[in-house]
Symmetry: C2
Subunit: 461 residues, 2 copies
């Protein structure tokens, strides 16, 4: 339904500018740098060419059909421009500027003028008050951000829908460091027209999307929203970061995107009933979305940990098995046969008990054999496997070793610590779509998200 | 007391080797690459030169006095070598190999032979079962890790004492990414002789050390330990990551460093009484140690947040003011006068309520004026200031702007999100010793550690 929005054949940017002080500069710059292969039509009454592109004095002058118009003008000029888009039958309009309902009465009036302009038409509005969208698969980047400040992620499997633009851009910048990709990023802004419901619907059927990450400050049509996420989450995992939990932050949210916060306890109960993971910051949001997109959910409690560093195993065991400051699952008790197999696979002073410690002498061959032993162990529901760079026998090949076992019955989450070989390992795991996380706690929490989803699916999915 | 250990004039490496398969290779390689200016004496009966250094057939052949000997031989050969060190009056011996009490009875016998060898002598043992030490101020690096796998941090203010070697190396590798430094790293290993008590004592008087980060799997002399940390923590903040909280992990710890775990509730109570921060993973350990080393502790509950991204402010408000999934402090209610000052400093559609949102149009001049307004606001106890890279007006100069206010009465913790300009900002904040953290949650939790310490100091310090 929104397919044309995600794969536009042509994009007009109204307010495109060669002046870096104007918002129409950054947007055009990002779009022209993104490798987008459709037609780009800058619109600016005062220019005939911007960034080497023929520029039109108005939307009406554009020769071909326009699938997507991005409005980068002050708020006050927006309703007229929307009316023009309706007249020209432009199906999708992104309204970038702020200065609408989030700022008070005057802005609310502007929004209602836009609503009236599109009423009964085929024109849909994204925004206003948005930094735009980023679709790496079709190379559409209308982001309102200076091109040199942040990195954009590669094509990937997480659909990222954010009510806040900056939070979205910053989070994409963060994950880019590890080569983590998105299938699409949409900043909903004030949600005058298109809201999270349609986006979730779209991504639920999108073959590029493995999971949906939502940052929301308000929820439109609560009942419909919950019915929808309950239904979609069973097919495609959803993670929600919903702010405005406290009074102070709910007030702040209303000033930010005009959002009216709902009762947080109601939300919590509804997410729980729908089996939807809740994140509490941007890191959790993308970590959970990633593990759910890549790894196999599991419903049991029993975790096996494989490490080449004893301390990392011990801390993991704490975080796995503690209810307070931990995830409250269990360390698997390995059967005698599995322990024997492990003992035969590792060095004499290694530990065949869980957490299994291959020690600094642990070779990749040992690692491979230990994973094989765990695969057939009925006492184990999931594996937390560490790829730690401090030992001589660790190398990039660990990615292939883990890769061999990733689809052999037991879910595997990988933990990595470090910034040198460690960073390279994280990037390579990501390239192979193996869920790897850069700290003990983040690895363990990702495991919990995978467990909770698996448990929900088994019991109520 | 341990000064000579941290500033040795000469170091002997027994078992130094030119064979990369041997542990004596990595250690000598790291030491010769570290810029250490004292004498290095490789000892190996089969070589006359290793890595361009004259090599001695035995400790006894070394011409000058040896302040520190590193033993990189198999466990079984270690007691004899220690006896030789005692005879030669070597004050400090690091025993690298494992294969001692952590592996069972045979290893315990070897340890007791070493204990007997040093009894009544002036020779002190660090280890066995240790990856060694790293002292950036004196450029001593005896780390057992291949030189190309991990990064070592620059000289800094955090003394990092770890019972686990790998966890220490990996954590140092992680913090190096942001240029975060340590005053020293010591891997205690099996703690046959020197333990955390002496280390804490030393660092409590070390002018390079601003805080002490401890990773422990066992605690020696519990009563003495608690008396010591209670006393030292008042002068120099201590953070403890103690594993073995659960039964499974306690058993794992005993297999890792031979540690006997204590009752975790007793520990928790004692840390609380001593006002010592407890971390639950390696990230928290170094985050808390860093904020306590750099920033001013505070005892009040009222936090002001300054942001240029509304969503980041809203999520921060949630995490600050929520008891569940948050730190349970308060968002400050700004006085009318302060709000007026802020309103006059920011753009019209910015938010003068807390969280204060300068919006994407927020300039560094605005930021500066907002911080000035908050500085004199009696309703604010501490400031969480975000430096977010997605807007055109953000630049590296934000570091100087925050720097101007860092000592003006209100503690400031900085949050940064992002991997491009964001990473540069984090590194620059670190260079200026301003505590900055790369996610919302980590920034907020650091703020809590600073608050808890300040509150403890006010009430009972």
């Amino acid at each position: 339904m929104l397919d044309q929005f995600f794969s536009p054949r042509s994009i007009a940017i109204v307010g495109a500018s060669s002046n870096p002080e104007k918002i129409g500069y950054a947007i055009l710059k990002n779009l022209t740098s993104s490798g987008y292969s459709g037609s780009i039509y800058p619109v600016n009454p005062g220019s005939s060419e911007i960034m080497g592109l023929k520029t039109y004095t108005s939307m009406a002058q554009i020769p071909g059909p326009v699938d997507l118009t991005v409005i980068a003008l002050p708020a006050s000029k927006t309703p007229d421009e929307v009316r023009e888009c309706v007249r020209l039958k432009v199906p999708y309009v992104i309204i970038i500027p702020g200065g609408f309902s989030e700022t008070g009465e005057e802005g609310r009036i502007l929004e209602s003028r836009i609503s009236r302009a599109i009423a009964g038409s085929g024109t849909r509005i994204i925004g206003p008050n948005t930094v735009g969208v980023y679709f790496p698969h079709t190379r559409v980047n209308t982001a309102l951000t200076p091109p040199d400040r942040i990195s954009f992620p590669p094509p990937g499997n997480i659909a990222f829908i954010s009510q806040s633009g900056a939070l979205g851009l910053l989070t994409m910048d963060s994950i880019s460091e590890y080569g983590i990709g998105v299938s699409a990023f949409v900043n909903l802004g004030n949600k005058l027209d298109v809201n999270e419901l349609e986006m979730i619907n779209h991504f639920s059927a999108d073959p590029n999307t493995g999971s949906i990450a939502l940052y929301l400050e308000s929820i439109e049509s609560g009942r419909q929203f919950f019915d929808l996420i309950r239904e979609v989450n069973r097919r495609k995992p959803i993670v929600v970061l919903k702010s405005g939990r406290s009074e102070a932050s709910a007030r702040a949210a209303s000033l930010h995107t005009g959002a009216m916060a709902s009762d947080d306890r109601v939300l919590n109960g509804a997410l729980c009933q729908a089996g939807v993971a809740r994140a509490f910051d941007e890191t959790e949001l993308l970590d959970y979305a990633r593990v759910l997109a890549y790894a196999m959910p599991f419903s049991g409690n029993r975790i096996a940990v494989v490490t080449t560093a004893g301390g990392v195993g011990v801390i993991s065991a704490d975080l796995i098995s503690s209810k307070i400051n931990g995830i409250g699952l269990q360390m698997a008790s390995l059967s005698a046969g599995t322990k024997q197999k492990i003992r035969e696979s590792i060095v004499a002073f290694g530990t065949a008990e869980n957490p299994i410690d291959l020690t600094a002498d642990g070779s990749l061959e040992s690692y491979d054999r230990v994973l094989s032993a765990l695969e057939t162990e009925p006492e184990v529901d999931a594996i937390l496997a560490y790829a730690l760079p401090q030992t001589p026998k660790m190398s990039m090949e660990i990615v292939d070793v883990v890769g061999k076992h990733i689809n052999s019955g037991k879910p595997i989450v990988v933990g990595v610590i470090g910034s040198k070989l460690g960073k390279e390992l994280l990037i390579e795991f990501e390239r192979k779509k193996i869920a790897a996380f850069p700290s003990i706690h983040r690895s363990v929490k990702a495991l919990k998200a995978l467990h909770d989803y698996g448990k929900f699916m088994k019991e109520r999915g």
